[in-house]
Symmetry: C3
Subunit: 440 residues, 3 copies
């Protein structure tokens, strides 16, 4: 609006949704778990786009009530039938092997084998995703239809995996802003070939970090790519003292499907991030919902544990556990799209815009209205309906900018988007009618 | 659930509803008023079940703005028609005589007599209940149909009553708990043959007191059987200094009919008893209602007078004054039932369970979640839908037990019954994951 | 109710609505603007009913961010067609001339003239009301139908006006009460021949002030008749230090039509005036609405600017800008009526009654209920439904009069009109059961 004003809303780059989709597709085939080479390979791909600090935390390290587990890696796995034919093959889909399966090589009757086969009887064509991180076991996941077709014969089973002392891997990307106050964006990096959960989140945060890197920001931004639960716990254990710098946080997962979007509030329930996400979703023109906090879901469970109680919420499209593709082979690259990733990017970027630019202002003429006409502020606007709305926005900003209402508060009061009201506030700042509350 | 945990929900004894009904039926015929032998006889019957301290307060004693009235007793009363036939007879129903009727013996024309006859024109078959405690008068209550059938002749009237200096009688049963904090349960003992109002309440409290006597409790329980208004005022006057020990209180009346149930909040409106009754009623599966406080009703009027402002609410089935049988001969033993008395007992007992067992706990692992698996707490639960709910309950208890949320608060937050959540909390206490907040 | 009690609700005088209408009709023809003889003449007419302090503030005086403008006066204005016939004549309606039109005398082609002609194409029979206070210009307002009928010829235009240093005029009427606390009633005096906006408000306040003058009041009442915006700003600039005395305030405009009524809350939103107006409107039996504050409208914009933030709301029938007659020749004497002015008077007078008589009381018997019977307070009431309600009102007053609930609070709690509850409170004061909280 005015070249001299300090605020300009940032638009998403053209085609960012498709770029996110491409990166999600690139990392989709990698076999990730809570430790191991799959995580490292994923981080290498992310590291082609943004600078990463990769941390390795040795097995056996105590992190609060937990211990970093042994590292799991897998080279191959298959089941052969009586004629030696591979009927289940890890190289077709890493979902076929239960994560953290211990090594096995031997022959099993169908009855013996069945104890290690996981299916979804109610979704007979889909392969489930299963893990056994803390109880040593092995297993295969197959479609229920395949299970029902298995002949009563002897099967040869191979799991060529290792479960040994090693380390847990996570990575951070840090963008330094004017302030030490931080904004945390966190995505879990431990799920194997599940496109929405969470290739979508990893790819979105990667390209968002790349775009943030092009700007000067007020807040510092911390992007965290870590295994779910144990990774977040490890990060909190290693950053216990500096966690208080986090002023806003979002856990990002399942952001590529057509559902939602939803935002689950932080445990505080009235943190700034909660108001900001409610605001951005309200103005998104999508059938968005804001949900109350609950202590189950993703890593907000840890960030919002009562000893930390950080202002961190969860952003998703479809809520975890509520869509039929959740934790199955149905969560593949057809389930997500560039269009929906683009929408998710815009919502998250819109929230960051508020976090970085919301401000408490003070009017410099507080007794009676300032005379807008003599400053050309009516003329600057004209006579259209949009102009009338701008005029009303100006009057609201001048009336409520008393140090007690932020620009976001005022935007919410009058039901207009933050960027529109922040732009008008910048114009009034330019004319000397508003000044930052701290300098008043 | 676990033999070592400290909490076990108490179930109502088999057939308690029928037992309550029997006692209500036993005391139903007695002619009670705010003073006199009827009250004493009722307390003797109650005293066969529980220990009672019976107090006699002399007529003329000043109690706040009131004075204990003279004692009223009645031996007989009747109206005879011109042929000497008894057409109204106290020995058929004590409702026929207005309570506190002064002695009379004489002959009256119908016109004279009518000034002393009370009927219900809109319920012509029912006999009303009337009193004249503080204005000396005499009267009879009959059905409107009988009134209309009276011939225009001379009637012979007898009221063989006494109104003399004596005393007001009330009784207490006290169950000592670990704490001096008290729970007050109060029922009025002044109504004659009205089954719901309040033979039902007297009988329920009597047998509840008997059951409480079998347990060790945290709170001390005070059961008060006193005449309405003047009895409660007298008790408050005699216990003015110790009234502050009352942490929760319930006035109990009309608890045997099929209506409601309803709970009328204390004057405070946000007292623990108000939350607790709302919780218990919500989980009762009955069409219960919670009403705001109002300064009319039963003895909560006195307990909630502003100079005391005690946390005392009113529990009823049908609300006083709203059912057609109220204060009529329709409120007889057919109007109440063992089934509904049982439901009322369960609600009151459920509320006492919360009052006695709600607690603020602190988690011992507050930074990130504790690892439940290594403690077998997932295993302890299994894989059913109920198990999933138990798991969620555990996570909520761990997340919110920060000294600021009681177990009831958490139960209300997640919409589960107190006893279920308290049982789970006891299990977590047993595993050292929760400890009482005061010892943290 | 009782001759000795201190409160008596005041009824509106008979025919006050018609009296207000007559005064509005008397001042309707005067050509008012934000300065000039029209304002002075209007104040002279008002001054025949009540004592006025008239203030003249010289052009050029600085008032906060504004400057008092030059004074505008007009003697005549007209447009003549090619044959010399007056086709637009100021003497027919002062709406025909844009307020603050600069002098002009000359001949114009239709094309030139059209730039100075204002019409309402969507309301083709009505003449608009237009002003140009701060941009020097001249203009005429005519019906759109007339504009379309104008021949393409040369027109002779005369505006015989002056725009010169002079003064801005406003007037106050002050009624001294027991307290220095003030109640502000403000109406704008700057609009020309618009009956509702604001001859109605000026006339209503004038006759209300006359009636107030007949009474002893607790509060002092200040009636302000000033030009909109610049007049209110000027008054605030000249009374900056004493503005804090204003405990309640109402801006009054458009109070003669059949719409609403509406009350727009003060910026505080929870000021006493906001509760009081909500109360009075609720009990008015009219389809009233209470609107949230917004920083546009009438002079509440200035009173509620953040540097003052006075407890001043806006009372209207139809809200400004929402009725088709607004700021047109349709806002004439047919648009308002004595009946609706009477209703508006009753609402404003009812609000003043609450402001002047609401009080915090303390009960003198706070422990248990007082015995009403021995004081004849039940007898004083009888047995009708109205009596039962009075009894309930008594119990509520006694229960809640603990110094924390005003009589209005109690009236709102039980949903009864203030005057009824205040009358009952006065009776209880008379019996010594309630006393002013400050003396308790």
């Amino acid at each position: 609006m005015d070249p001299n004003t300090g605020y300009r809303a940032v638009s998403p780059p053209d085609g960012i949704g498709d770029e996110i989709y491409s990166l999600a597709a690139e990392i989709f085939p990698i076999c990730r778990s809570i430790t191991g080479e799959g995580v490292r390979e994923t981080l290498r791909r992310i590291g082609r786009h943004i600078a990463l600090d990769v941390h390795e935390v040795p097995s056996g390290t105590n992190v609060f009530d937990w211990t970093v587990p042994r590292e799991w890696n897998i080279r191959d796995a298959c089941i052969r039938d009586g004629r030696g034919k591979k009927i289940v093959d890890f190289s077709n889909s890493n979902l076929h092997v239960m994560s953290y399966s211990t090594p096995v090589s031997g022959r099993f009757t169908l009855a013996e084998l069945r104890k290690h086969l996981h299916t979804l009887p109610e979704q007979p064509d889909l392969v489930p995703y299963r893990t056994s991180y803390y109880a040593e076991n092995w297993g295969f996941c197959i479609s229920h239809r395949q299970l029902e077709s298995l002949a009563d014969e002897t099967y040869e089973v191979l799991v060529d995996s290792t479960l040994e002392d090693g380390s847990l891997t996570y990575a951070e990307h840090f963008h330094r802003g004017e302030s030490e106050d931080e904004l945390l964006l966190s995505a879990h990096v431990c799920h194997p070939s599940l496109a929405n959960d969470n290739c979508s989140g990893l790819a979105l945060l990667t390209l968002l970090a790349r775009e943030i890197g092009k700007r000067r920001t007020r807040l510092s931004y911390r992007f965290l790519f870590a295994p779910g639960t144990i990774g977040a716990i490890t990060w909190l254990a290693q950053n216990e003292r500096s966690a208080g710098r986090i002023k806003h946080g979002l856990v990002i997962s399942c952001v590529g499907d057509a559902g939602g979007p939803i935002y689950k509030k932080s445990r505080r329930g009235d943190a700034a991030v909660d108001s900001i996400m409610a605001h951005v979703l309200k103005h998104s023109d999508l059938p968005a919902k804001v949900l109350e906090f609950s202590p189950y879901g993703y890593d907000e469970r840890q960030y919002c544990s009562p000893g930390f109680n950080l202002p961190v919420g969860l952003f998703q499209r479809s809520q975890w556990g509520t869509f039929p593709e959740y934790h199955t082979s149905g969560d593949n690259l057809d389930f997500i799209s560039g269009r929906h990733l683009q929408q998710s990017y815009e919502i998250v970027a819109g929230a960051l815009d508020v976090m970085d630019n919301d401000v408490f202002l003070n009017n410099t003429v507080s007794k009676c209205e300032p005379q807008l006409g003599k400053r050309g502020l009516y003329a600057a606007i004209g006579g259209s309906p949009e102009a009338a709305r701008s005029n009303v926005t100006m009057l609201w900003l001048l009336n409520l900018s008393d140090g007690n209402h932020s620009v976001l508060d005022i935007a919410d009061r009058i039901g207009r988007p933050f960027s529109e009201v922040r732009t008008m506030a910048a114009l009034l700042e330019h004319h000397g009618l508003l000044v930052p509350a701290s300098s008043a």
